[in-house]
Every structure is written in structure tokens, then in C-alpha cells.
């Protein structure tokens, strides 16, 4: 179990290898990578600043991972979320879950993302041709969380 908030980029292969820790009882790894788009709500986005609530962010993510571990038979989970200034194409978030079988890995990975989107204290501010703007929360994210 690990949660990391960082400004620097991450290498997915290296993170997965570390998460697996050479455990041959793991048969499945489900991974999600969120990356920055250059368009949002109809505007071109030149850059984005990710603010967070140090202390609470880690607690919230660890709580989400613990919930996932309670609900599904998973071996390990990793969440890396970047903060600070990001550009289009930059990676934003990595969620990786290992398990013996694939069903649990997929479910837990999607669950963690859906909860992260609505429960973890991150806020995005975008720079567009019309100036800076805070990203609005999406109803679809609340709906995605409500499924679980």
C-alpha cells in the first residue's frame, strides 16, 4: 500500500515492478493513468496548476485504498498524484492494483479512481486563452462514485 503526492513525473513500468515486488501469487495488475488534455469544456488549455491539501490528501487516499482492500481481494495498491504546474500530455495520476485474479484488480482500480475524483482534496486551475479558471466539479463523477 502506498500513496504519493509529488511534483515530478512517474514511470509506470518501474512503479508496477516495485508494486509487484516479485510476488508470484499476483496474476493481475490493473492500472489507470490520467493525463492532461489540451481541451476542457470547449476551451484550449495551455497549462494547469494542481493545488491540494497537504496532510488530508494522503489521509483521504489511504482511506480510499483501505476501503478498496476491504471490499476486494487485492494484494497491493499504489496511488501517485502529481501537484503543481502541468502541461497538456503530462501524466497526472497513476492508480495500480495487484491481485490474484483480474476481476478484483479491475474493480478496485476503478473504485479508487471514482473515489479519488470526488473525495480527495485536489483542485485544478486552468490557463486558457480567456484567462485562468478553476475547473468545475462534474456531476458525472458523483454518479460514478454512487455506483459502488
Amino acid at each position: 500500500m502506498a500513496v504519493r503526492i509529488q511534483t515530478q513525473d512517474f514511470d509506470t513500468s518501474a512503479e508496477i515492478t516495485a508494486l509487484r515486488r516479485a510476488r508470484a501469487d499476483i496474476g493481475a495488475v490493473a492500472v489507470f493513468i490520467g493525463q492532461m488534455r489540451d481541451m476542457n469544456d470547449g476551451s484550449h488549455v495551455a497549462s494547469m496548476t494542481l493545488e491540494h491539501y497537504p496532510g488530508m490528501t494522503e489521509k483521504a487516499l489511504e482511506g480510499i485504498v483501505t476501503q478498496a482492500k476491504t471490499r476486494w481481494d487485492i494484494v497491493g495498491a499504489l496511488v501517485i498524484h502529481r501537484v503543481g504546474e502541468l502541461k497538456p500530455l503530462d501524466q497526472i495520476v497513476l492508480v495500480a492494483v495487484t491481485s490474484t485474479h483480474r476481476g478484483a484488480a479491475f474493480a478496485a482500480c476503478e473504485f479508487i479512481m471514482d473515489y479519488l475524483k470526488t473525495q480527495a482534496p485536489f483542485w485544478k486551475k486552468e490557463t486558457t486563452p480567456q484567462g485562468e479558471r478553476w475547473v468545475e466539479a462534474k456531476v458525472s463523477d458523483d454518479e460514478a462514485k454512487a455506483r459502488w
Partner: protein, 84 residues
């Protein structure tokens, strides 16, 4: 004393990231504290009068506005989150 934190759009609107203040005598829960802040008038009233969506965290856990507060607590206010 309590510690109050503001994030993102709210932090910018108020021009304040955090403050320490004595627990207001009538502030028994989060909603009471929000009313106390709104009573400051100006941007405080605009942000805390109930028209702007604000989430609250008590000691770094998301809570409903009915959550009880006490001296020593850390209370944070912020817009709905948009990470991921």
C-alpha cells in the same frame, strides 16, 4: 483556538489561506462556524451565505455541516474537489 483553512477558488476569493481564531462562543458545529464567517460581511458573506458550494473537512476528514467542532480542531473549507 481553532485553525481554519481555505483552498482553491475560496482561498483566492477571500485572499486568505489560513487563520487561527478563538472558537466563536456560538459555534458548536461547522454550519455555525460558516455563519460566523459570513457575518464578517463583504466577500465572506458572499462565499459563506449558502449560495456557493462549499465542502468542509474537520481534522482532515470530509464532514457534513452538522459535524460538531471544538477548540483545537482544524477546519478546512473548499470547493468540490477536481483532482484525478
Amino acid at each position: 483556538m481553532i485553525k481554519v483553512l481555505f483552498f482553491a477558488r475560496l482561498r483566492e476569493a477571500l485572499g486568505v489561506a489560513s487563520e487561527e481564531l478563538a472558537l466563536p462562543s456560538k459555534a458548536h458545529n461547522v454550519a455555525d462556524l460558516m455563519a460566523h464567517l459570513a457575518a464578517r460581511g463583504g466577500v465572506w458573506q458572499q462565499q459563506f451565505d449558502g449560495c456557493v458550494q462549499i465542502r468542509a473537512a474537520l481534522n482532515q476528514e470530509l464532514v457534513a455541516n452538522t459535524a460538531a467542532i471544538k477548540a483545537g480542531d482544524e477546519i478546512a473549507f473548499f470547493p468540490p474537489v477536481t483532482g484525478g
